[in-house]
Symmetry: C2
Subunit: 351 residues, 2 copies
């Protein structure tokens, strides 16, 4: 850091995203992307905007928000678009994060945002089986952030459990990060009509093949949306570029295709999970587009670096409470068969 | 605002961007966009990425930064890419803005950022002729932000004057916002090699026909760049999407085309300025891609709303110290001829 940097950032430790290798020779199962390219209509919609880039994008994302409102079953005044869901999560920490609570093992960005904004952050431990005990979050009297399904465990709470959290913290905002909900958990977006303290965040990075376009949403009652819009207009009103607005709009119109792909990913996930269990690995019951794996006679590091040498990238969170595990994004059937075969070979080598 | 919003944001007044009409029937001279579409290679580069959107973008913007470093004549370790220059300006206020100074009349986002981050902000008045007196910024002992050329006046400081500011504030960061520099002012990027407290920001929205793609840069010594990268990685490491990275890279390779367009805009600007003076209007000596106009027997509001009715949008900053003026982006020769003819008709109607 420079000598000029505000002292409150002196100990800031940035989020470390998964590797994005440039040689592209790997089967990439490390950043929870969709293995499928965007649908032709989406690519075409983005392309059509490329010739109009001299003009600013619509700061209100009018068309995109209209489609998103219909998709999520809420009013247009209940949804905002962001430069990835990281941006809406950042704004939520900025707006509501003075006192905040989130699981001790969850999306790695939560503690980064907490440090950035100097939050008083309560990190709530998981149960021994890696699940969230929703009762730990009842009547906390502080802003709550929970990924549902949680990452990197893939374990989900039920809407009823989340409603208990929301109801018992009526004086604080509850943020439910539904980045992975389309792969098998149940959304609590309907509850945003009943509770003015619930903010649901979504991303199109995983379920809608738009990781490289950067598109996320915030869904909530009108007052929270107004807060977030004030923050958005105080930082970057043109936050979602022209091509991404068009791509997102087209992706929503193709939503059934994307949902069928999500179901395919979920089927592949469950098949591979069964195979891994047969091979002696231990897994959480993931409802997301990734598996969270340990055991089989291998350490987390051995799985990560062994697979890397064999051309398969998975995510290993070194040095912490989950360093005995790896997170494996669910790719195509073919990619996962390669992953499985290589992992079993690693196991045999070790024996 | 909701009852949940952090009290320090209670009086936040967001930036109000210029109108982005959706019916597109206007000659749009209100947001300083380039009147020319991106070059074919740029549109093609963005298009080619549309099919790979399921994969995250390169968080390091490796190719784009390599080209940008060559363009700006600095090392790759001296440049970062951002989601518009608004993002790097925001981060500069966050990182260095506890005590800050900027001109009382300048880019409307500076006071918004200052309020967002609770800065102790000194707003330094302009001279009566709307110019910045650089001596007002010597040895201030606080972070300094100056747009050069300034907006909406278009008036520029010389590199020597800026160097005096930078040298006399060696314990604080000096941010020079060069959004409009390519239209006739002189860049101080070379000074970033000599002074570790100088940050230069650039945008491709105006000079490079990429307003709708969102692309800006920060150029500075390695330490400031490291600070900004820590903030970037603590908010949104994938801040510049895949299509925009490709578009920006291609735009730099076409830089000579864009610079010749900037020169054409400057010629049009000077021709129209002469015509306006002949018609009795008063103008600042703008070095940017806009004119700052008053007089001719018309109030700022009369010019703005009269032209609007006639299908020409210009920017009017109502209710403040400059409400007697309008800012007119310089479009094509043909657009500006229409603007001039309509403005003269307005004048005649009033007489």
């Amino acid at each position: 850091m420079s000598s000029f940097l505000d002292k409150r950032f002196a100990s800031l430790e940035a989020y470390v995203p998964g590797e994005q290798p440039k040689d592209a020779k790997y089967i990439k199962l490390n950043t929870n992307e969709s293995p499928y390219p965007p649908s032709p209509a989406v690519a075409e919609a983005a392309r059509a905007e490329a010739e109009k880039l001299n003009l600013y994008c619509d700061p209100d994302c009018t068309l995109l928000r209209r489609e998103a409102a219909a998709l999520f079953g809420v009013g247009e005044e209940n949804v905002l678009a962001f430069n990835g869901s990281d941006e809406v999560l950042e704004f939520a920490f900025m707006a509501y994060g003075a006192k905040i609570a989130f699981p001790s093992i969850s999306y790695g960005f939560y503690p980064v945002f907490a440090r950035l904004f100097g939050s008083d952050a309560l990190k709530v431990p998981l149960r021994e089986d890696m699940s969230i005990d929703h009762r730990d979050y009842l009547s906390l009297g502080r802003t709550v952030v929970i990924a549902n399904p949680n990452a990197p465990t893939g374990l989900a709470l039920s809407p009823g459990q989340i409603e208990e959290i929301v109801r018992s913290n009526s004086g604080s905002v509850v943020v439910i990060d539904e980045a992975y909900v389309d792969f098998g958990a149940e959304s609590v977006i309907p509850l945003t009509k009943k509770y003015d303290n619930l903010l649901v965040t979504r991303t199109f990075s995983k379920s809608h093949s738009l990781a490289g376009a950067r598109l996320g949403f915030g869904i909530a009652g009108e007052e929270i949306i107004r807060d977030l819009n004030t923050i958005r207009n105080s930082t970057n009103p043109y936050n979602v570029n022209r091509m991404t607005q068009a791509a997102g709009t087209a992706a929503i119109r193709d939503n059934e295709l994307y949902m069928s792909r999500c179901r395919a990913v979920a089927r592949t996930r469950d098949r591979i999970a069964d195979e891994l269990k047969k091979a002696g690995f231990e897994l959480t019951a993931s409802k997301a587009n990734f598996l969270f794996v340990r055991g089989g006679g291998l350490s987390g590091e051995e799985i990560y670096s062994g697979l890397r040498k064999r051309g398969v990238l998975v995510r290993w969170f070194s040095g912490g409470a989950i360093s005995d595990r790896v997170r494996v994004s669910v790719g195509t059937e073919e990619q996962m068969d390669v992953f499985l075969a290589e992992l079993k070979e690693l196991q045999n080598e070790k024996k």
